[in-house]
Amino acid sequence: MKTITEHGRPAGARTRLTRVLAVVVLGLGLAAPALHAAVGCDLNDPDRDVKRLFPGSTGYKTLYVSISKKGGDDLLKRIEARLGDSFTGLFETADVPYTMYQVYKGPDLIGFIHGVNQKGTYGGLQVFLALDLKGVIKGFYFQKLTAKAAKAFRDPAFGSQFVGLSLEDFYKYDVASGREQPPGPISRIKNPDPASEKDFRATLRATKKNLVLVDEFLLGNPYLKFFRG
C-alpha cells in the first residue's frame, strides 16, 4: 500500500500502521459494531446512570439472570401469566439475559434498577425503572426510543406519572387489551401523543414486564399474592 500523506509527504512507519488499522476499521466495517455494541438491556454508563437515578448512592452490584437458567419453561409460563401476555417474536425469549442492578448506600441496599427491551412501532424501546426495596417505582427512564413522538415520550413529565406505582397497580392493567379494570392509577397515565397509541401501550407492557421480572428475580415474589390469574 502506498504511504503518501494528504500533503504528499512519505509517511513514517507509525503513520503507516495507523493508516492500515484505520483502513481495516473502514474496510472491514468495524465502525458498525462500535455503534451497536452489546445488545441487551444494560445501562449505557452504569456509574453515571446509577448516580442519576439514585442520588446519594455509593455503589452498585450487577446481577445477570435469564428465565431459562432460573426456572425454564415453568417460570416462563408463570411470568407470561403474570404479565397477561405471551412472549413473542425473535427477540423476546426465555434466553434473554437481564441485567439487574442492586444499588447501595454504604453497606445498605437502597434499591434496584432494571431495564427491558420492548418492540415499538418504528424500532426498539428500552424502558428502565428505578425501584425502592418494596418494588415501588421511584424513577422511569427511556434509555433508547425509536418513535415519531420520541421527544414527548422522553419528557420527564411523562415518566413522572409512573412514580409511586407498583406491580400491584399494574396487575389490574391488561396488556393485551390495553384496559385497566376497574380504572385506576394506570388509566390516569396520560398518553403524550394520541397518534402513538401503540408505542404508549408498548411502554405500559414494558413497565409491567419489568416489574414482574424484578419481583421474580430480585424481590422474592412479594407481589405474587396480589396476582389473580
Binding site: 458498525a32 455503534l35 418513535a147
Partner: protein, 399 residues
C-alpha cells in the same frame, strides 16, 4: 515375593519428596501452557483473519483519497466530513480485465438524540441490491432476504441491529434524524462479524434520503483468481482522487505486526522452557545426590549402570510428561480467557476465535515436553549410573 517394575520404583521415588516433585511439575506445566497457547494463537489468529477477509466477499477496497483514519474518526463523531467518490468510477473499475466483480457502497451516519442520555449514532450502509448479495453470498438469513428494487424503501438488518431495534421481517423502521420509514425485508443470522451491527439499505435509497446523489464512500472489488493483484493495484492508483486498499496487503501488514509481537513472546516461552528444564535437572540431580547410598546398595546388589540410568531417566520423563499433561489441560481450560486477554491487548482482532487448540497441537506439545524430559534427564542419570558402590558406602561412613 511381589516383583515391582522399574516404573513403580521411579514413581515411588518421586512421591518421597512430594512438594519438590509437584513444584517441578508446575514449572513444566507453565512452560507447556505458554507453548500451547502461543501456537494456538498463531493458528487461530490467521484463520480468523482469513475468514473475516473471505466473508467480506472482495479482496480490494477503493476509497476516496484522504486519510481513512480521519474519515473513520469523523464518521464516528457524527458522519460529517466523509470523503466521497463519484459514482462513475464504478464503470472505470468494472472495465478493467482483472475485475471479476464490483460493488459500490455508501455509508452514512446520523445522530439519534433518543439513544442514551446524550444521544448516539446510527449507521447505515447503502449497497447495490444486485452485486452486493452476489459477493456476500455466504451471508445467511434468519428471516426474509435481500431487497430487490434499487430504490426500495427497504432495509436488511444484521442480527444485533435487529435485536437492538426489536425489528422483524415486515416491521417498519424509522431512520432517526431523517424521519424516513423503511420496511424490514430481511434479518441476517448472527455471523460474529461487523455485519451483525449493520443496517443495509439499497444504495440509491441512501443517496436519496441523505441527499448525496451520485456519491459513494467505497467500492469493493473482487479480483479474478489468475489476475496479477499487484499490477492491478498499480493501475487503480492511477485513478484520480482514490486510495486503494488491498486486503491481502492489510492481512500481510497485520500478520507482520502480530509476528513481531509473537517473536517476543516466543522468546519468553523459550526462556520459560529453559528455566523449566533447569528446574528438572536440579530436582533430579538433588534427588540423585540424596540417594547416593541407596544407589550404591542397588549396584552392590547387582544393578547394572544401565538399570540405574534407566531408573533416574524414567523419573525425569514422568515429571515432564505429568507437567506437559497438566499444562495442556490448563491451556484447554483457559483458552477462552486467553482469547479475551489477547483480544484486549491487540490493536485489531478478527471476529472468530483467536486461540485454536486441537489434538495435533496438544500431541506436539507433549512431544516437545517429553523431548525436554529426555534431554534434561541425561546428565543426572549419567551421574547416577557412574557412581561406584564402594565410594557411596564409604561416604556414608564419613558422614
Amino acid at each position: 515375593m511381589k516383583k515391582i517394575s522399574i516404573f513403580e520404583v521411579a514413581y515411588k521415588n518421586l512421591l518421597r519428596k512430594k512438594t519438590r516433585s509437584l513444584l517441578t511439575i508446575l514449572g513444566i506445566a507453565m512452560a507447556a501452557w505458554v507453548l500451547v497457547s502461543l501456537f494456538g494463537f498463531n493458528r487461530g489468529y490467521e484463520a480468523s483473519l482469513n475468514k473475516d477477509i473471505d466473508n467480506l466477499g472482495f479482496q480490494m477496497l477503493v476509497v476516496a483519497k484522504g486519510c481513512p483514519y480521519e474519515a473513520a474518526t469523523l464518521m464516528l463523531k457524527g458522519g460529517t466530513g466523509l470523503k466521497y467518490m463519484k459514482e462513475d468510477i464504478v464503470a472505470a473499475v468494472t472495465a478493467e480485465p482483472e475485475v471479476d466483480g464490483v460493488t459500490a457502497m455508501l455509508m452514512q451516519v446520523v445522530f439519534d438524540p433518543n439513544k442514551g442520555e446524550t444521544g448516539g449514532l446510527a449507521a447505515f450502509l447503502g449497497v447495490d441490491p444486485v452485486s452486493f448479495p452476489k459477493m456476500k453470498s455466504a451471508l445467511p438469513f434468519k428471516a426474509g432476504g435481500w431487497f430487490e428494487e434499487p430504490e426500495a424503501a427497504e432495509a436488511v438488518f444484521g442480527y444485533e441491529a435487529a435485536e437492538l431495534e426489536q425489528r422483524e421481517v415486515g416491521d417498519i423502521y424509522l431512520i432517526p434524524e431523517k424521519e424516513v420509514e423503511v420496511k424490514v425485508v430481511g434479518i441476517l443470522e448472527r455471523t460474529g462479524t461487523q455485519d451483525d451491527g449493520t443496517i443495509f439499505l439499497p444504495i440509491k435509497t441512501v443517496q436519496r434520503i441523505f441527499g448525496v446523489k451520485g456519491e459513494l464512500t467505497s467500492i469493493g472489488i473482487k479480483v479474478k483468481k489468475d489476475a496479477d493483484i499487484k499490477a492491478f493495484e498499480d493501475k487503480m492508483y492511477k485513478l484520480p482522487d482514490v486510495q486503494v486498499v488491498s486486503l491481502s496487503q492489510v492481512k500481510t501488514t497485520i500478520m507482520t505486526l502480530v509476528s513481531t509481537a509473537r517473536v517476543m513472546v516466543f522468546s519468553i516461552a523459550l526462556i520459560a522452557i529453559l528455566i523449566a528444564m533447569m528446574g528438572v535437572i536440579n530436582t533430579v540431580l538433588m534427588s540423585v545426590m540424596e540417594r547416593r547410598q541407596e544407589i550404591g546398595i542397588l549396584k552392590s546388589m547387582g544393578a547394572m549402570a544401565g538399570d540405574v540410568f534407566k531408573l533416574v531417566w524414567l523419573e525425569t520423563i514422568i515429571l515432564c510428561i505429568s507437567g506437559g499433561l497438566v499444562g495442556t489441560a490448563l491451556s484447554l481450560l483457559t483458552a477462552r480467557l486467553t482469547d479475551v486477554l489477547v483480544r484486549n491487548l491487540l490493536p485489531y482482532s478478527p471476529s472468530g476465535g483467536l486461540v485454536a487448540i486441537d489434538f495435533k497441537l496438544v500431541l506436539m506439545t507433549l512431544g516437545v515436553v517429553t523431548a525436554i524430559g529426555l534431554a534434561s534427564g541425561v546428565y543426572p542419570s549419567w551421574k547416577a549410573a557412574r557412581m561406584r558402590p564402594l565410594d557411596t558406602i564409604r561416604s556414608e561412613g564419613e558422614s
